[in-house]
């Protein structure tokens, strides 16, 4: 054992003089950093501020007695997510273990029995959706209508107390969902427009895509927000809706570029073969080119969802209370004035957790697709 450790460190840490110097400098520095971070987290940090303000962080200023609506929405989203996962990855034991771990961790961290119980329910729904689509091929055929129904249900449940009250992490999730779903069809249209037979269509689509790609998202969101009331006087669009429109307009351009790269990856022989069968251009694009193109771009599109999720805090510019703003609201309370590090660490770690999961899923998906196309 010791001999192995000695050999391993000679190969991996002290292989060459330069490596040895690096190791001698970097290892103590890293250890010291890790030690001081852990020391702070375990002794000095006052983590009680996080459970106390968990509701604000998760749903912002959404009324507390309406929290069941948020839980219902989370349940529906969880079920759809599980169903989507089941289409690609079969349900395995370690997935179940991972899902069961979440409520257990919540129970240990504290905050009463209610939250872990409801989380268990959400995880159970997620697992149900996952099992259903991984074992019943029939379930996959009804997934699209089910997703649309679920989507409408989420908004029907969340809307009654007032759209303006949406906030916290839930707002980020809803914004990401809406943007990801709406920008896909627009992006596909733009991608086809960019390689249209008509030069005018090509010009318009290219101009749109390139303009959006050279502007900062925060500007686009802000301008849509101030332009909407001028354009649609009397509609009284809520801030959230205007933010979603801005995000969709911006990310459609990015989706269009991803889809275009997928369209280019479809071999020309496919189109030519379809044409020789006498299919119309529309049919060729719809049932030959697009399915193959979308298959290629699923991993980058999942990465794009992560980008949208990471950009969601930008809605602070139009006065919405998202996850970051909720954290800052908590810090603005003089009682919590000295909890800067605790709150920001929590925000960063939560985002890192969700982001890593999405990245991991995208990587698995890529490997899965690569294996399928061989």
């Amino acid at each position: 054992m010791i001999a192995y450790a000695f050999k391993w460190s000679r190969h991996n840490l002290f292989a060459k003089p330069f490596d040895a110097v690096l190791s001698i400098v970097v290892i103590p520095g890293t250890l010291w950093l890790v030690y001081s971070a852990l020391h702070w987290a375990l002794t000095a940090a006052q983590w009680d501020v996080i459970p106390q303000s968990m509701r604000v962080l998760m749903i912002g200023i959404f009324p507390a007695d309406q929290a069941w609506r948020a839980w219902t929405a989370v349940g529906i989203i969880g079920g759809l997510l599980g169903a989507g996962l089941g289409c690609v990855f079969g349900f395995r034991k370690h997935h179940a273990l991972f899902l069961a771990l979440v409520p257990v961790v919540l129970l240990i961290v504290g905050g009463g029995w209610q939250v872990p119980a409801l989380t268990t329910l959400v995880m159970a729904i997620l697992a149900c959706g996952w099992v259903l689509t991984s074992y019943l091929p029939l379930a996959r055929h009804v997934l699209l209508p089910a997703a649309v129904t679920g989507f409408i249900a989420v908004f029907a449940v969340m809307a009654p107390p007032g759209v303006g009250l949406w906030g916290g992490l839930l707002l980020s999730v809803l914004l990401t969902l809406v943007t990801a779903v709406l920008s896909l069809p627009i992006g596909i249209l733009l991608a086809f427009g960019r390689r249209s037979r008509f030069s005018s269509v090509r010009l318009i689509c290219t101009g749109y895509i390139e303009t959006m790609r050279s502007l900062p998202l925060i500007l686009v969101v802000y301008w849509i927000w101030i332009l909407m009331p001028v354009l649609a006087t009397g509609w009284g669009l809520a801030d959230v809706a205007r933010g979603m429109i801005g995000f969709t307009i911006f990310y459609s351009a990015y989706v269009a570029e991803y889809v275009r790269s997928g369209l280019q990856a479809v071999p020309k022989g496919q189109t030519e073969a379809a044409r020789s069968l006498g299919m119309s251009e529309f049919d060729i694009n719809r049932s030959i080119v697009l399915p193959q193109a979308l298959r290629v771009v699923v991993p980058p599109l999942v990465g794009n969802v992560l980008d949208i999720f990471n950009a969601a805090p930008l809605v602070f510019i139009i006065g919405l209370t998202d996850f970051l703003r909720a954290g800052q609201m908590i810090l603005a309370n003089p009682q919590n004035g000295d909890r800067t590090y605790e709150v920001y660490s929590f925000l960063l770690l939560s985002y890192f957790l969700v982001g890593s999961m999405i990245t991991y899923a995208a990587r698995k998906l890529e490997a899965h697709m690569a294996a399928g196309s061989r």
Binding site: L22, V26, T30, S200, S214, L219, V230, L231, G355
Partner: protein
């Protein structure tokens, strides 16, 4: 046989008919083209009309005249261009009696300042991180991996706010600021670095020396004749040495008093936080680009270098990185553009960049739509300039290039 009856091509047509069909097709295509353009124009016109009506309802008139009006607000940092004396524009501190247009210029210069510095530093840090991810040293490899993963999977805005509120604003106040070796002052009120200061006068010797230095710099960058670059670099070093020796350039160390620091170059806390956040964030993305490019290089390159007896450091420096930089430049260009766009987040911590200044001007004058046009064109220009420079560099690097 029945074959002879069906053998005749069903659509055999005469030449006239063929021409007529071509003409019809052409006509159809062209009329569709015209219709699309007409619809697009009509939509734009409708949009413009709706905006004009909406603005008229609020009693705002669309005009750019407000740009010449006095701004009436202060900008916490930054210079503006002044065309008052002489032909060449000179940099001047922005004051509230300058025009709104000058305020936009200040914002633009602040954006460019952060973007240029961030591009330089993030390229260096990103390359180090990217090479570090493939290091033979396990600790360096793992550490680089986790830094890159963490930064890429968390929002830039939260990183920025963290750098500002949890790092820069937690530095000691200026009165007890840490003074590091070399005269670097780190404090809540900002970072202060030693600066070079120009002591030379307008004499012929000074101007001649300065001109020679610029010519040498230009020569080193453009490299007009083979072997010129080395000569120019040597010339630059000698010229700079001459400047110091004759006292025309001296190092100006910052001096901290109780409430303010004088001398040297200062970075405001907002600028420092924005720079840190953007550099670290962008470096992680650049690290991924570099790592991907190194991974994509044929393994034979490593093996050939190894069989020639090159050390790993020489292999990376002389064999791998030169090839990598050829491949990654377009990806770097995309990353630089998104970096330049990310500087707009400075508004979250109050850095007076273009977007922040635009917000203030729009609030003060109510001309938010005209501002949109100006800011939009500015950002488009910025993106185009960056992509033009990168593609120029790409062409230069790859013109002598061997086949990839």
């Amino acid at each position: 046989m029945t074959i002879s009856e069906t053998n005749r091509a069903p659509r055999a047509v005469g030449r006239d008919q063929q021409q007529a069909r071509r003409f019809r097709n052409r006509l159809r295509h062209d009329s569709a083209q015209v219709a699309i353009v007409a619809v697009a124009l009509a939509l734009v016109a409708l949009l413009a009309y709706a905006v004009k009506e909406g603005l008229a309802q609020k009693g705002i008139k669309f005009s750019f005249a407000f740009l010449a009006n006095a701004a009436g607000f202060e900008i916490s940092e930054g210079k503006t261009l002044s065309f008052i004396d002489g032909f060449l524009p000179s940099f001047e501190t922005f004051t509230s009696d300058r025009s709104n247009g000058a305020a936009f210029v200040t914002g633009m210069l602040n954006t460019v300042k952060v973007a240029v510095l961030a591009i330089i530093f993030s390229t260096i840090l990103g390359t180090l991180l990217g090479v570090g991810r493939l290091s033979t040293n396990w600790v360096v490899r793992t550490l680089s991996f986790w830094i890159v993963e963490f930064v890429r999977n968390t929002p830039l805005l939260i990183q920025l706010v963290f750098w500002y509120f949890a790092v820069v604003l937690q530095f000691p106040p200026l009165a007890s600021a840490a003074k590091l070796y070399g005269g670097l002052i780190v404090s809540q009120q900002g970072l202060y670095l030693p600066a070079l200061s120009w002591e030379g006068d307008g004499s012929a010797v000074s101007i001649g020396l300065a001109t020679a230095t610029w010519v040498a710099v230009a020569g080193a960058i453009l490299d007009p004749v083979k072997g010129m670059r080395r000569a120019c670099t040597v010339a630059i070093v000698i010229l700079i040495g001459l400047f110091f020796a004759t006292g025309r350039i001296s190092i100006d160390y910052p001096v901290a008093t109780r409430f303010q620091a004088s001398g040297g170059t200062g970075l405001s806390p907002e600028m420092a936080a924005l720079l840190l956040a953007i550099v670290v964030n962008s470096a992680s993305y650049i690290a991924e680009i570099v790592r991907g490019a190194i991974d994509a290089l044929p393994k034979g390159q490593w093996e050939a270098a190894g069989s020639l007896g090159l050390s790993r450091r020489n292999t990376v420096n002389d064999i791998i990185l030169p090839q990598v930089f050829r491949v990654v430049l377009p990806s770097f260009g995309n990353q630089y553009i998104s970096l330049a766009k990310n500087t707009a987040l400075g508004i979250a911590i109050g850095y007076p960049d273009l977007f922040n200044v635009y917000g203030t001007v729009a609030n003060q004058t109510g001309h938010s739509l005209e501002g949109i046009v100006i800011v939009m064109i500015s950002y488009l220009m910025l993106s185009w300039i960056i992509s033009a420079i990168v593609s120029w560099a790409d062409r230069r690097l790859n013109q002598k290039g061997a086949s990839r």
